[in-house]
């Protein structure tokens, strides 16, 4: 009986999507995006689009191997732009009516009067919404694997990791959509609130990454300024020792006091002040980043979930090394701090545990779905 009912709900969900046409529109657009990938390539002087070659300084087969070029394109454009934003928006428009339609007057009575538990009914409907997204991503990933295989000679099955990762990402938003739909019975309200929540999550993530970036740059600046301070102190000590030894004999272990150093060298004073200033700055940024992290703790990690694919598919060593060859050396400490900070930020983000990225997101989704189940199971319609 359970299989018969589940299959019936699946077929009905397909018919609903089919009737909305958006399912096929999204699928057609996915094929177009895959076709665009297929038209791209990398040559010895730049990138190619079909027959045309565009010269790009610093970008060629040597600096970015073809497999990495296609994987980067897949992750940054295919996943980062197409699936994460455009296809997700289309999927939300397609599926946001799933739960409001279920609880509409006249519809809910028919469903609830059948021998199927309310919780199972709700969770099946919810899962079917995710199945729609899984199918879309599966088609897109299969197309991408084919393109990479044919164009770059690389058969990369790890691309299919996009299916669970994008579905997970979508499920966070869809849980919010389900809750709002259940409470308001309105498709428009569900869509709008989910879009707002999505924007809120984007802001939280951006704040986290920016504050982390600023913090890492500030910490790098502290390190560099401390190095410079030590250098200045060394120079000042040598100079002071030389001056004092002109009139007296100093023991081997003689060392000037900080006050003596400050008195003898304005540079030491300047760099000490700069170290203290940057330390204070770094501490302040660390505090605000901690606040952002605590806020994010209870929220789903949309961007970080998608970034898991980047972690898995992109080899940072190969890209970083090749890019470094082309980049100019930093001109001053500030530029060096910026570069170090950026590298450390990326490293810190990549080092975030799966428990942080997925565990807390799952907890959020489970909490929202739990509320949905309690409401749906207890509500009078």
């Amino acid at each position: 009986m359970i299989l018969t009912q589940t299959w019936a709900l699946t077929v009905a969900a397909y018919r609903e999507l089919n009737a909305k046409k958006l399912f096929w529109v999204t699928l057609a657009l996915s094929v177009v995006v895959v076709a665009v990938f297929a038209s791209l390539g990398i040559s010895d002087v730049g990138i190619t689009i079909l027959h045309w070659e565009i010269e790009v300084p610093g970008l060629n087969r040597e600096t970015l191997p073809p497999d990495q070029f296609y994987l980067s394109t897949f992750v940054s454009l295919g996943i980062g732009v197409w699936l994460t934003w455009i296809a997700t928006a289309l999927a939300l428009v397609s599926t946001c009516g799933t739960i409001p339609d279920l609880v509409q007057e006249g519809s809910v009575e028919t469903m609830l009067s059948r021998p199927i538990s309310r919780v199972r009914l709700l969770l099946t409907k919810y899962s079917l919404g995710l199945l729609f997204v899984a199918f879309q991503v599966l088609i897109f990933s299969a197309g991408s694997v084919l393109v990479f295989g044919i164009r770059a000679g690389v058969w990369e099955p790890r691309i299919f990791l996009a299916v669970p990762i994008v579905v997970l990402f979508y499920s966070y938003l869809f849980s919010i959509c389900a809750l709002v739909g259940l409470l308001t019975r309105s498709t428009i309200a569900a869509l709008l609130v989910t879009a707002l929540a999505w924007f809120g999550l984007f802001l939280a993530n951006t704040a986290d990454e920016m504050l982390l970036g600023f913090q890492k740059v500030a910490e790098a600046r502290v390190e560099l300024r401390q190095q410079r301070l030590h250098l200045e102190e060394g120079m000042a000590t040598t100079e002071l020792r030389r001056r004092l030894e002109e009139s007296q004999t100093l023991p081997e272990d003689w060392a000037p006091t900080p006050a003596e150093l400050d008195e003898s060298s304005p540079s030491v004073v300047l760099w000490r002040e700069q170290v203290e200033e940057s330390q204070s700055n770094a501490e302040s940024l660390e505090f605000w980043h901690d606040v952002a992290v605590w806020v994010k703790l209870v929220l789903p990690k949309t961007a970080e979930t998608i970034a898991l694919l980047d972690r898995e598919l992109i080899d940072p060593e190969r890209i970083t090394v090749s890019q470094a060859r082309e980049n100019d050396r930093p001109r001053d400490d500030d530029e060096r701090a910026m570069m170090l900070g950026a590298e450390r930020t990326q490293a810190a983000l990549r080092e975030r545990s799966l428990a942080w990225v997925l565990g807390t997101s799952f907890a959020f989704e489970a909490f929202i779905l739990g509320i949905c189940c309690v409401i749906f199971a207890r509500k009078d319609y």
């Binding site: 009905a12 018919r15 007057e105 006249g106 519809s107 009575e109 028919t110 538990s117 207890r378 009078d380």
Partner: protein, 341 residues
């Protein structure tokens, strides 16, 4: 069809309160026997749909208990042998009639082969075979009611609950739905109809209940409900203004000497009695005074009369307003009940 022992529906003290104020049902006691067509009627907001929704687990009861096909109400297992057509149903418009019935059968857990066979036979029964492949969005209200009825029957139910089944259906369709109800009864199924259309209920129902302000005002067969309310009508073959003169001679005033009521409507004299002995002297008097009697017939109140009686406050003579009873209305209502009894 599932066979069960005992009553199809048995409710005792069933109550439902929405929020803190609105008492939609106030201790409903109701019994529906197996194999009968049972009609539930009542004014708007009397609690009819709420009662059906409680039976179908769409709404949870606040108090009382009851059984549906021998199983406690509010449990999903009780729904296996039940078919339901909601009042304001909104079936998916992208499905065809055949797909809807099949979908409904799947949700009831019926296997594919059996489902297909029943779908075809039910579409034939409700007269929608020719429209089976058309999407519901192209159906008229009456057509939707017909496929709605088919989907309610797809699980071969022992009891079918129909909420306003003839709503939006043309007269021919109404007759067909009545015939289907009668046929279901003949097959041994119980049919529970909730409707405003009193004349239709009168035609098809074996037993009835009138729900007023969340309480069962009366229930039973139509004969039981009108017991003690049979009247005799004497119709004269004269103009109404001349008939009045004859009536003044033999039955002046508003009551007979023995206490029965007298009503005059045109050429008809209605005597509030069920005793032929009371009628005979009046009849004789009219004939002796030269009146030509066209007909003498016993009459009983229609379902509409009973309904109006049920929704009329005997102390004020005013019909009760629509909607459920609120807690604020409880005290005056109870005082009114005392006066009524």
């Amino acid at each position: 069809m599932t066979t069960v022992d005992g009553h199809a529906i048995e409710l005792s003290g069933l109550s439902k309160t929405f929020g803190r104020r609105v008492r939609a049902l106030r201790g409903v006691d109701l019994t529906v026997r197996r194999g009968e067509v049972f009609g539930l009627l009542g004014p708007n907001g009397a609690g009819k749909s709420t009662l059906l929704k409680i039976l179908m687990t769409v709404i949870r009861r606040s108090g009382g208990r009851g059984t549906l096909l021998g199983r406690p109400i509010g449990t999903k297992s009780a729904l296996r042998g039940v078919g339901y057509l909601p009042e304001h149903h909104r079936f998916p418009s992208y499905l065809t009639g055949r797909q809807l019935v099949d979908y409904s059968g799947s949700l009831a857990g019926i296997g594919r082969g059996e489902r297909r066979r029943r779908t075809e036979s039910l579409l034939e029964m409700v007269g929608m075979k020719d429209w089976a492949t058309t999407r519901l969005r192209q159906y008229s209200k009456g057509m939707k009611q017909r496929v709605g009825l088919a989907q309610a029957l797809v699980n071969d139910p022992a009891i079918v609950l129909l909420d306003e089944p003839t709503d939006g259906v043309d007269p021919v369709g109404r007759r067909e739905i009545r015939d289907i109800c009668a046929r279901l009864r003949d097959e041994g199924r119980t049919v529970f109809i909730n409707s405003h259309l009193l004349s239709e209920l009168e035609m098809v129902c074996d037993r009835l209940a009138i729900l007023v302000k969340g309480e069962v005002d009366r229930q039973g067969t139509l004969d039981e409900l009108v017991a003690g309310q049979i009247r005799y009508d004497i119709e004269l073959a004269v103009e109404p203004d001349k008939a009045g003169a004859f009536f003044d001679l033999v039955a002046p005033g508003e009551r007979l000497e023995s206490g029965e009521t007298i009503e005059r409507t045109g050429s008809t004299l209605r005597l509030g009695t069920t005793e032929p002995d009371v009628v005979q002297p009046i009849l004789r008097g009219l004939v002796e005074r030269g009146a030509t009697v066209r007909a003498v017939r016993p009459s009983r109140p229609s379902l509409e009369d009973l309904f109006i009686q049920a929704v009329t406050d005997p102390t004020t003579g005013r019909t009760l307003g629509p909607g459920a009873r609120t807690r604020q209305e409880e005290k005056p209502a109870r005082a009114g009940e005392g006066a009524r009894s």
